[in-house]
């Protein structure tokens, strides 16, 4: 019984540790050491609550999130909200391809091709084609298994974090005692971490996955375990990424004068965190992990987006439909891949910037999707006896308020640069 409903939560967890996730956590550790670790506890709580809400809505209503938004809030709200999410997801797709582009020179170097631009273009285009092929042609179960196996690359962060002997006492202290700095970079980093961990698109994805599995109310217990353990896995990995980057890059930099510090100017710079484990192969290990993460998410994110847009507006959808029957669906899907991959092969595209600010945008839009979810899940006509309990409402609304306040602060800092700088 458990196996028949398990899956959506675990898959979503893996999709969550995508390029944006790995790099945001890496940067958090590299720039701020352990001082952002405390954030992982409330973020995990909020992640569990949001994912569980979506899963529950999927089980009880049997409908996707976009479906519910359209039926309950009408055309106008649906249109503008989804427009924002589509833009955001375009950024997220570009993020995945930016991850691919940024590890391309590592692979190139390994096989002796020095031209970074060439490596980048070839790998990105190859991956875009591969993603399209995998999604439309390949056997999904097999593909999912391959991704799962490759996801064990993340365990190297766990090993690396242990080998390097971080100051566990400091780690524990920073976990339990929140530290808040008002600097612009710190606030933006908090928004990015929240945004990459609880990205709006994943709420659509997990609900769709639950609906597709056809989980029934009587099976919901098992499904809840799946969803919650998925969320925990996501954040445990996040924890070790932050720790290993903090213990290598940040600690290293603190001890050195400005000129000799490791600069995180490029995505591959954070591969240093894996050196304690992999030595000179650290960069390669990192590149394989990131490539896997990018491919996995790039193969479900554009699909999920095309799906929910078509769901909301009543177009034929799904990869089991023929091209001629589901034109809008395939057009959306293809343009996501083409634009996402196209943006990053522009020479000198600011890869790290694309990645980081996409995660910030995720964070900024999170309150929008959360408010809609809260209105839906507390609607008795839809949910019957399955509406939110008090604790869930408190946690979710608190998340909405906190992220909104942070966004306001960060916007204020943008307009009045003197604040907190």
């Amino acid at each position: 019984m458990f196996l028949s409903v398990v899956g959506p939560g675990i898959i979503t967890a893996n999709a969550d540790n995508d390029v944006g996730g790995v790099l945001t956590y890496s940067q958090a550790g590299a720039q701020f050491g352990y001082s952002l670790l405390w954030l992982l506890i409330p973020v995990t709580l909020a992640l569990v609550v949001t994912q569980e809400m979506c899963a529950r809505m999927g089980v009880v209503t049997g409908k996707g999130l976009a479906d519910l938004i359209r039926e309950n809030f009408g055309v106008k709200v649906t249109f503008w909200v989804l427009l924002l999410f589509v833009i955001c997801d375009l950024g997220n797709t570009a993020t995945e391809f930016a991850g691919i582009a940024s590890v391309a020179p590592i692979f190139g170097g390994f096989i002796g091709i020095a031209n970074a631009g060439l490596c980048k273009t070839v790998l990105v285009v190859a991956c875009a084609i591969l993603v399209f092929f995998v999604v439309t042609r390949a056997n999904r179960d097999v593909v999912e298994r391959i991704f799962f196996v490759l996801c064990t690359v993340y365990l190297s962060y766990v090993v690396s974090a242990v080998i390097v002997h971080p100051d566990w006492k400091d780690v524990g202290h920073q976990m339990l005692f929140p530290h808040f700095a008002s600097s612009k970079a710190y606030v933006l980093m908090i928004i990015a971490i929240i945004g990459t961990t609880i990205s709006p698109w994943m709420q659509f994805y997990i609900q769709a996955a639950i609906v597709e599995k056809g989980v029934r109310e009587s099976q919901y217990g098992a499904s809840r375990v799946d969803v919650i353990s998925g969320a925990l896995v996501t954040d445990i990995i996040a924890f070790f990424i932050v720790v290993s980057c903090a213990a290598t890059i940040y600690v290293h930099n603190v001890a050195l004068p400005a000129g000799h510090q490791i600069q995180v100017n490029d995505v591959s710079d954070v591969a240093v965190a894996l050196q304690p484990l992999a030595g000179r192969f650290a960069a390669l290990l990192f590149a394989i992990g990131l490539l896997n993460a990018a491919l996995f998410t790039a193969s479900i994110l554009p699909l999920s987006t095309a799906y929910y847009v078509c769901e909301a507006f009543g177009f034929e959808r799904g990869i089991d439909r023929r091209l001629g029957d589901a034109k809008v669906f395939y057009a959306l899907y293809l343009s996501f891949i083409v634009i996402g991959a196209g943006v990053v092969i522009v020479p000198n595209a600011p890869l790290l910037g694309i990645i980081f600010y996409s995660q910030v945008l995720n964070g900024v839009l999170l309150p929008v999707v959360l408010v809609l979810m809260l209105l839906l899940i507390n609607n008795k006509r839809l949910m019957g006896t399955w509406t939110n309990g008090v604790a869930f409402n408190v946690i979710a609304w608190t998340t909405v308020v906190i992220v909104s306040v942070l966004t306001a602060i960060s916007t204020a800092q943008l307009v009045f640069p003197q604040i907190g700088s």
């Binding site: 209503t61 049997g62 409908k63 479906d67 359209r70 039926e71 009408g74 055309v75 106008k76 649906t78 249109f79 609906v211 056809g214 029934r216 009587s218 507006f313 009543g314 034929e316 089991d320 006509r381 839809l382």
Partner: protein, 432 residues
């Protein structure tokens, strides 16, 4: 009434005023309702307004004009007399943004707008708009980009082909519309649509169909969808539907359930002999001859004349699914030979069956695999093959369509039509 043909979205939001000096404002139009959505082009029977005193309604004969300077003019003030949900279909509340089945196009779509025509002073619902034009209109394209709307092609579904399904505000009226219109679909098309619905919608739609239509659609549904619908329908109704299904399909369905559930369903089947038959069928492996076979075949005695046999078949055949081959057996059901309907029809009325029958028996055992059954049928160009036990007695037959279903990949199977339309489900029909 000075309303030219137009769209519901253009009426919604209009100011309602009382006829008389100064046109006193009453409220804003939020919905309209029809009392007989079953009609080909149902009449709009009233409007719903949001006023200071809450939602109020006016029947259509109290509405003098729906388009006087962009307002709706009422003869007398509206009353607070909400119609119960099951007496009327509210076009905005029940249909705007909701999914419907396009019976003509055989797919699920979403309603963006509703076209209304003014036929000699009566406003009638004509069609549902499901395309981009409807979306743009609702988003306010008329104001923002007036030229744009005329250039976008409209996608309309004639009202007669609209079958509402959405599960908010369940309404009796709406379900009856769905029922009559959905039963126009081919069972396999209906099954495909049911498979795309949420579990609750699916159960409600199946619940609204008559037993026979539901059973036909059920035979084409995937096992997991069948199970979830059965759980929602309740045992009583599920048993009624199973009773109308072909024996082999019913047995497949029962085989997927756990023992408690299966026993409960079997207990509710009224035809006890049929229930026993099903119980036996369930025991076989689903991809073996036993799992594929149906017990619904016609058996005849060898010592009868063709005339007597044909008379008997005429009496029995309407009950039976498959009559193209007749199986000649002794009184212990041991298979002696087969005879095709063609041979029977062409033979002299006085000829005896045992002289005509083909006694070169091609048969399979209950545990023969689906592939072997299919290749036997293919090798001998059969429409069906008998399944025999160790003593040569008939257990059932596997028809060519069930054999094909069993060996081709599921996806292709969905889009294939059935060769033989199934209606009956009776166990073997004898002439003895």
């Amino acid at each position: 009434m000075a309303f030219r043909d137009g769209y519901l979205s253009e009426l919604i939001g209009r100011q309602a005023v009382l006829d008389g000096p100064g046109d006193v404002a009453v409220g804003k139009v939020v919905d309209v309702y029809v009392g007989k959505p079953d009609d080909t082009f149902p009449r709009i029977d009233g409007i719903v307004m949001s006023t200071r005193g809450g939602q109020m309604q006016s029947p259509i004969h109290d509405v003098i004009d729906v388009d006087r300077a962009g307002t709706i003019v009422l003869r007398i003030p509206p009353t607070e007399r909400p119609l119960p949900d099951d007496r009327a279909l509210f076009l905005v509340k029940d249909l705007f943004d909701k999914q419907i089945v396009d019976v003509d196009g055989r797919k699920l779509v979403r309603i963006n707008d509703i076209e209304i025509a003014n036929t000699g002073g009566t406003l009638r619902v004509v069609a549902a708009e499901i395309g981009v034009a409807g979306l743009l209109r609702r988003l306010g394209a008329r104001r923002l980009a007036p030229g744009l709307l005329d250039r976008v092609p409209r996608t309309l579904i004639a009202w007669d082909n609209v079958a509402p399904i959405s599960d908010l505000n369940p309404s009796q009226v709406r379900l009856s519309v769905s029922e009559s219109r959905l039963s126009r679909l081919h069972p396999s098309e209906l099954a495909e649509i049911i498979g795309d619905l949420s579990a609750k919608d699916a159960a409600r739609i199946v619940g609204s169909l008559d037993d026979e239509t539901a059973a036909d659609a059920f035979e084409h549904l995937e096992a997991d969808v069948q199970q979830s619908i059965i759980a929602d329908l309740g045992e009583e109704r599920a048993a009624d539907i199973i009773e109308e299904m072909d024996a082999d399909d019913a047995a497949d369905l029962l085989g997927e359930l756990d023992e408690v559930q299966r026993a409960a369903l079997l207990a509710k089947i009224e035809d006890r002999a049929y229930a026993d038959e099903l119980e036996d069928l369930v025991e076989y492996e689903p991809d073996s001859a036993g799992g594929l076979m149906t017990t619904d075949y016609v058996w005849i005695y060898p010592h009868r004349t063709t005339a007597a046999t044909i008379a008997k078949i005429r009496e029995l055949a309407p009950e039976s699914e498959f009559i193209y081959y007749l199986y000649v057996t002794d009184d212990r059901r041991k298979l002696l030979g087969t005879i095709s309907l063609r041979t029977l029809l062409l033979a002299l009325p006085t000829a005896f069956i045992h002289k005509l029958m083909d006694s070169d028996l091609v048969s399979v055992a209950a545990d023969t695999s689906a592939e072997d059954v299919a290749s036997t049928i293919a090798r001998y160009d059969l429409l069906a093959v008998p399944v025999l036990d160790d003593d040569g007695r008939m257990l059932g037959i596997v028809t060519v369509d069930d054999a094909i279903d069993a060996i081709i990949p599921e996806k292709i199977a969905h889009s294939l039509p059935r060769f033989v339309r199934h209606h009956g489900r009776r166990p073997s029909t004898g002439s003895g």
